[in-house]
Amino acid sequence: MNAKIKLADAMLPLIVLTIAAVATAIQPRFLSVDNLLNLSRQLVPLLIISIGQAFAIMRGGLDLSMASVLSLSGVLGVTLMPHIGVPAGVIAMVLVGCLAGLVSGFIIAWFRTTPLVVTLGMLSVTQAIALILSNGVPIHNVPATYVDAIGFNAVLGVPVMVWIALVLAVAATVILRHTVFGRYVYALGSNESAAVKSGVNVRFYTMLVYGVSGLCAGVGAVVLTAWVSSAQPVASPTLTLQSIAAVVLGGVALTGGSGGIWQVFLGVLVLSLLSNVMNMTGVSAYYQTLVVGIVIVIAVVLDRFRRT
């Protein structure tokens, strides 16, 4: 029984190792420091978004607005930076994300509406605001100090953006495991009615959960804007959908109430690794899409077996 659980938990790491081994065999450059740094950098935005998404999912919800909240944060932060300076601009990005999330959370919690539709609406709203603010055009006028500091520099050989994701992941793990808030996130996801009745302040903590997912979108904006050194007002929903796929791929139940950041990381790693490896080994773009789709389906089927 115990051994079985361990085998199940080891499945994704095994898949990761297999992919890596195959990749190295085909393309030895896969293991080059350059490529691993590249991989780690490419993984960062998805990881950050997925951590936020995971909070929403573990609470038994979903946040479809993450990518456009990210766009709004980026556009607003970059617009403000020339006036308020880089650090304040970065803080503004995070706060804007958090605020947008709190608005979704407020509507979801106070009116007890379905997160899917509320965040779908917020997707349009934040998208529109980003478009209006930026006049629709990407903002390339990003302070070089900011771009260098976050998108480009490295500390101890590891890119700053990777550090940011790492700190966020550790913080999320600690919050989920060792704080009252974390307990409530799981409890709300596991059985909302029971949580209400055992005295959890459901509205407040639901708002907080979407505040966190919004905050992660804001942090994603900080990183992504620096990385691509411009703020894009139009967000493709792909990033959001990928984050859901990554979270569930890692083995977090969509019904809420379970899962951990380590699983989210594994899910993100598998998706990013797949794409990196297929790029390195020259798999054509369309077959890449095919493989990702098949992997998602297989993973969710395997997950089913893992659970029973």
């Binding site: 596991s190 055992s198 005295g199």
Partner: protein, 542 residues
């Protein structure tokens, strides 16, 4: 393979005056992973007989029912129905043979009409796009509703009906196809005394029509009220099977169920509220019987029960105290101060803790560990600045589990690894730990076996002795009588009476109250059908 099952088998054959059994289960075995849910079980059901199945939680009663109804397939053993061996691949096949089941949890589709629910899965359609005909379906639905003695429009949506009616409909659904055998899995778990009597009368009608019933229950008074035969299960086996004769009373059944003499709870003397002491919770402005307002008070160290049929207004009071529902037409005072919590969180802050009815839906966190389920509403005690001190939490949790006599292996194992009874103990412990002033309990022992029930009662009494005020709402009248120091009866939103230190003798008076008849009129009351068999097993020491 045991002598016990050998012992059980002949009983089955000789029962009911030697008539051949309608259904015979021979040597049924069912394994779930490491658990042996059914271990060589043999049991027989006879036409025109109500056969009660008793046993502790996890004994395998429901599994047996599901095997009979075709939902599970036994790993070994045979079913003999009407003299011929049968095998069911799905519930539909069993239903076609005349075997129906009423599940422990409601299995109606809330969004569909009564008619659609009754016919669901048995439209007999070959093709998915076959028409369902209202004209074809309605007559049989009306027949069954008449049989149940309810007058309802078959097009009513089930979710618009009260739960008790839904429970009756659940039975109606089983009767749709003129079954010859009906398995009832804990149908009385959530029924109040009145609803129960209605159910019993349906059951007796079935018996009189020659239908065989298997009645799975935890309530001894069910057995004494309608049982013709009793089978006791333990650990997946049949340990005993005997016919109910006039000589067998509740105490006797209990003894054979638990294997202990004098197993019934010994009730310590009740503490009547000390005069002059002010109530922890005082509910006033409730409509009283004599046109005046009634006041319900819950005192330190006292256990107060509210009793009435579903919809009588007692739930309103309990839920208002717990903060689940706003008090609209009455007012509350907590320790003398006006009180009206908007949420359970607010009530909790005031020292009121709540254990709701419906474990699965409202109380347990099925995906979380025992630790997290237990500690959820008392995290403040083991955390600082929002961070949980795990070591302190562990020691608090272990203390509480020990005090509540929860059988568990690992604090961090999922709560779903516990049996229902043990889950209930954990949830009660959670509620008790959160309460500093008042403990509000709804159905504290629904679906829990007798042993666990007694342990839970003992915990509740201990809590009240330690100074808590306790407010209980239980549909189980014997439980209410056994547990409470004071019982307020409700009828149609009105407080009918207050029974201090109630004993079994108050049973009839309470029934009269909750039916809206003044207790003074008791002598003229036609005695309820169940009254002669009402047992006093849990009150004998008082």
């Amino acid at each position: 393979m045991s002598t016990l099952s050998l012992h059980a088998a002949p009983c089955g054959h000789t029962a009911a005056g030697g008539r051949a059994a309608l259904l015979e289960v021979r040597g049924a075995t069912k394994r779930f992973g490491a658990t042996l849910a059914l271990d060589d079980v043999s049991i027989a059901a006879h036409a025109g007989e109500i056969h009660c199945v008793l046993g502790e939680n996890g004994a395998g009663k429901s599994s047996l029912g599901k095997v009979i109804a075709g939902l599970y397939r036994a790993d070994a053993g045979v079913l003999v129905f009407d003299g011929a061996p049968v095998q069911f691949a799905n519930p539909g096949q069993a239903r076609a043979m005349g075997i129906a089941i009423v599940y422990q949890e409601l299995s109606l589709v809330p969004d569909l009409s009564i008619r659609a629910n009754f016919w669901l899965g048995s439209e007999g359609a070959r093709l998915p796009l076959a028409r369902v005909g209202r004209r074809r379906e309605t007559p049989r639905v009306r027949e069954v509703l008449a049989q149940l003695g309810v007058e309802l429009d078959p097009e009513t949506r089930v979710k618009d009906l009260p739960v008790t009616t839904q429970q009756l409909l659940e039975i109606g659904k089983a009767l749709m196809h003129r079954p010859r055998l009906v398995v009832f899995d804990e149908p009385t778990a959530m029924l109040g005394a009145i609803e129960k009597q209605r159910f019993f009368s349906v059951l007796r009608t079935l018996r009189d029509n020659g239908i065989a019933s298997l009645l799975i229950t935890h309530h001894i008074d069910d057995v004494t009220a309608v049982g013709d035969r009793v089978t006791v299960m333990r650990n997946g086996r049949v340990v005993e099977s005997f016919p109910m004769t006039g000589a067998i009373d509740a105490e006797h059944v209990l003894e054979r169920l638990t294997g202990r003499r004098g197993a019934a709870a010994v009730r310590s003397p009740r503490t009547a509220p000390a005069a002059g002491e002010s109530a922890v919770l005082e509910i006033s402005g409730l409509p009283g019987r004599d046109d005046g307002g009634a006041t319900v008070g819950v005192h330190r160290g006292g256990i107060v029960g509210l009793y009435g049929v579903v919809g009588c207004g007692a739930e309103r009071v309990v839920r208002a105290a717990a903060g689940v529902q706003r008090a609209r037409d009455f007012s509350m005072r907590l320790n003398g101060r006006p009180f009206g919590p908007a949420t359970p969180a607010e009530a909790l802050r005031a020292g009121i803790s709540y254990l709701p009815a419906g474990r699965q839906a409202n109380a347990v966190f099925p995906t979380r560990s025992i630790r997290e389920n237990l500690m959820l509403s008392q995290l403040r005690r083991v955390s600082r600045l929002g961070f949980i001190n795990r070591r302190r939490e562990t020691s608090v949790a272990l203390d509480q589990l020990r005090a509540s006599a929860v059988k568990f292996a690992d604090l961090d194992a999922g709560i779903d690894t516990l049996s229902g009874g043990n889950q209930q103990k954990v949830l009660l412990a959670r509620a008790m730990a959160g309460a500093s002033a008042l403990l509000v309990l709804e159905e504290p022992t629904a679906g829990v076996d007798i042993d666990a029930k007694q342990q839970i009662h003992e915990r509740i009494r201990a809590a009240s002795r330690a100074g808590l005020a306790v407010l209980v709402l239980s549909s189980d009248l014997p439980e209410t009588l056994a547990l409470c120091d004071v019982v307020y009866t409700f009828f149609a939103g009105t407080v009918m009476d207050c029974h201090v230190a109630p004993a079994a003798g108050d049973h009839d008076a309470i029934l009269a109250d909750i039916l809206g008849q003044r207790s003074a009129a008791r002598p003229e009351q036609p005695r309820s059908q169940a009254a002669p068999t009402v047992n006093e097993w849990s009150l004998q020491a008082t």
